[in-house]
Homo-oligomer: 238 residues x 2
Amino acid sequence: MPGQPRNSRTSEESRNSRIQRQVMQLIIDRRLQAGALLPTEAELMDGLGVSRNSVREALKALQALDIVEIRHGYGTYVGQASLTPLIDGLTFRTLARHGHDDSGALAEILQVREVLEEGLIRRVAATVTEGELDRLEVVVSRMEVAGRAGRPFPDLDREFHELLYASLGNDLVPQLLAAFWTVFRRVNGARGRSEDPSPSLTARWHRDIVTALRARDVEGAQRAMTVHFHGIARRAAG
Amino acid sequence: MPGQPRNSRTSEESRNSRIQRQVMQLIIDRRLQAGALLPTEAELMDGLGVSRNSVREALKALQALDIVEIRHGYGTYVGQASLTPLIDGLTFRTLARHGHDDSGALAEILQVREVLEEGLIRRVAATVTEGELDRLEVVVSRMEVAGRAGRPFPDLDREFHELLYASLGNDLVPQLLAAFWTVFRRVNGARGRSEDPSPSLTARWHRDIVTALRARDVEGAQRAMTVHFHGIARRAAG
DNA sequence: ACATATTTGTTCGTATGTATC
DNA sequence: CGATACATACGAACAAATATG
């Protein structure tokens, strides 16, 4: 039976996480932006007074968080700090926790997406420009073409929702939604569920959203979004 | 000038990420739950046909994602797959991208929280039980005590919002909100901003939320939540 | 096209710290 | 207390990828 970790001396941080912290601090202190070149492993060894293996283990951990990006034979760069770790974590968590037959975890993700998008669509209705609506309509038209042919259109779906929230000027929003979207799709795919049983119906949901936005009908837009999500949920539950 | 990575042979996965994937697959395939003991490094070496260092680097990466948990001298366990990586990533991203003086990144996080909680509170109003309301009221009372003494109460605040969404039965929701909350607090703290300039006001916002919920006043609850967030935003902008 | 320097990737050996029995 | 099993850490060497001349 494992007890709590010993930790004899007080506030002793593990070597590895200390190095991770130091590298992050180095990036912040030197104002390094994404894509900037980091010190080499050898320089970090000297600067931090640890072995190469320790440096490498810390860098691997930071790479998993997309805080650094390592290129074989060239160097280590400051990473994008994207939400990739969230995608990986949520995907794993969903597959590992509920085995291979439960859909409860997917429903949780879907509920978060639904709440977010229902709230966001109201704000979008106030800020979206005619130009953005035109671009959205182009995407919807392509959805309808695919839908009539019975072809699913995951990329168009993703593009639609990304375009939709561009006018908010909040970079976190589209990344977060894209993360949830990706997890949903990955887990659904890993369970062998069909991609989109009725593309034409999905296309119409999106058409309804644009129509309501064009009319600056806040309530209607939110209602259309709700319908959209209830449609997804019904499929996922089956 | 660095170009794009070579990647001569198509679909070549790096060794390290392959090992990571294999370990995750092992957990899923064996139906290992959080806290379960994983094979030792030596066993993984044999099983995957790679050296100890490669195994260790992969495990460190998985540890950063909270997919495994490594205990010195004892063994490696399946992790909680919490949202810790999201917290770390968002904190770093906020501090690194906007330097030390901008509050735009904090505003983005706050907007996501606001949209989420405004949407969630409406659902809570329909599902929350009297017992849960009682517990919420206890927390609020303690807030008011602290508020009258001028003491900030970050832990009570966190507990309130966690309790609030418990009735939804969606485990992801409180974890996600807690993650945003932690990032906000950490970044705000790293910038030397005062914790909560007027605790008594904060306490009243929470009181108003409970009062509206008790009356099953959906609109009022959402309005109270909006007021709460606008208050936070006003402070963060200063 | 070739050689070379630089940088990361991988492996091995060894020693040390930590928990269990 | 010792014995055992395990993770942690360091150092050295070679392999592979990349850039430069």
